[in-house]
Symmetry: D2
Subunit: 182 residues, 4 copies
């Protein structure tokens, strides 16, 4: 049984300029094939793809400025592979959760989706808190385990376990999720 | 006694493509000198100027795209006179109120302002509901009467009366507000 | 065509201890027959009836304490006629809008209603701002004109006009609304 | 240096009727001496104590009804030791976070506190998500490690580690927190 879903890509347009940022970039880069595969699948089905991204204190709804700001040697390979297409949505968020201080809930309502697939970084922070806010707002939550990354592998594992247990999230990997949604 | 205030400019980057849109554009244009004067004053004091604008169903934090979308024969004279400067903040909102589905509250907190001067259109809709949301969040509210416009003069009058009575808004005109804030 | 609706009764458990409070109480009392008729209709259909009420700075989810606090010579006749039944929901709100700082949105979602009939006081303040918040959250809004009251008749008229025009509210009186919903 | 803080007591008025509920009750009971000590300290300083509690699907701001509903053989010893006093605030919440669908943020603003001490259950769910929402709203967060409990010790440990790292929470135990605040 298929029903329309929205793909959320969190904080992948990232400058990785923070402690352990390089390590997170490495793990994030490993998720790019999975996220890309899922994104292509959503594009084929004409399902929505929504980037929700930190605004880097620019406080400006200006995608060009943000992309310019985050591009550097570490981030560029990731940005090139997974940056937003023209048809994708792009929202900025001021804090951890993709729902806090953003139009995400309204957009999801307007798109008439009841489930979200959450991907990106950091798995145990922004992904986790976005997943909880999605759960509190009654969305069905998928968090494909090969499409999120955290600074430390053990934090990623723990976050997945908590999302599965506490938020009823389905964490099967992207290849299986695509089958489920088909 | 002066304290830092934030200037909100609501929905002035507007295509005016709706019933009575041309009439609203005419009234909006009359407010431009007052809003500009206030904006200059805020710039001089290095106080924040925040545009909060409809996103025209683009759902994209992309100021260039939005400005392109709204520009037409009716709107262009207004846009040219009052468009955002590089140093101004620019947020998009999905609904009437500037606080709903936006980072405005977080931004105001970070800027450490306790009062807002609300200007723009429409006075009896987006300005009004933004003023109420500001009031509910404990901000002191100024709505200079010569800096807001509604489709009908009588609606503007009524909105001002209600904001003054119900939200304790100070509605003195821009010239007097500048004196008060100095 | 009928679909489940929720009846909101706003601030009718009221002490009316404020300027023009007695005048508002008189007008509020005039709405009681209409609200009661609508409430009975909702009870018969087993549709939800939700009181949303100021908490009078008690900050306590304690209906008994609130009813005790608001009861006085002016309010008692109204309270006796229209107080919550055991099966009715009862939420407290800290500010004007019934959605701000309350579980109303979550409750409406759980009840699976897409439309709300808003009644009570004051028509141009708490009813009005609740109606806007319902509209921003995509609910269909009914505000039966004989079931709301404001301090001044002209404010009530204006609020009805604005809700009809700006929020697409249906303001037909209770008797006609019952027919529409049947 | 001392500054006014609010004590949050989360979901301690609990029926523990869920898988591993008895185990959580046992761990929760172990936190009661610490929470009580902290509560007494707050009472002495006339600082606010705020209970935020699940409403058990009653959707009713009725503390008496909620206490009646949750009382059973397992919960009664805890409830007797730590139930709200008349002067304490009592809010109900519909979901995990104490900020979601509640007046908590408004109450904290009105009380003029900038920091919160979060206690109660479950440490890795409602306490954790409340802590994150407090952090996103710019509160300073204390989560005394001996005043929260989770179903599993390891979940409690992980939640404390995450709150310390990600939310900058201060997790020192109650005895040390009292010294810090004095």
């Amino acid at each position: 049984m298929t029903k329309k879903c929205a793909l959320l890509i969190i904080d992948m347009m990232n400058d990785f300029q923070f402690p352990k940022g390089e390590q997170l970039a490495r793990y994030a880069d490993e998720t790019v094939p999975s996220i890309s595969q899922l994104k292509n699948h959503f594009h084929e089905r004409e399902w929505p793809v929504i980037y929700i991204n930190d605004h880097y204190q620019l406080w400006k709804a200006d995608i060009a400025l943000i992309l310019e700001h985050v591009t550097n040697d570490i981030s560029d390979p990731i940005i090139q592979k997974i940056k937003p297409d023209d048809k994708d949505y792009f929202l900025i968020k001021p804090k951890h959760s993709g729902f806090y201080g953003t139009a995400l809930n309204t957009l999801l309502h307007e798109l008439d989706v009841k489930s979200v697939a959450i991907t990106g970084v950091a798995g145990n922070i922004c992904v986790f808190f976005t997943a909880n806010d999605a759960y509190m707002r009654e969305f069905e939550v998928y968090v494909p385990k090969d499409a999120i990354a955290s600074e430390e592998k053990k934090y990623n594992e723990y976050a997945l376990e908590m999302m599965e247990r506490v938020l009823n999230a389905d964490v099967r990997p992207v290849s299986e999720l695509i089958q489920l949604l088909s």
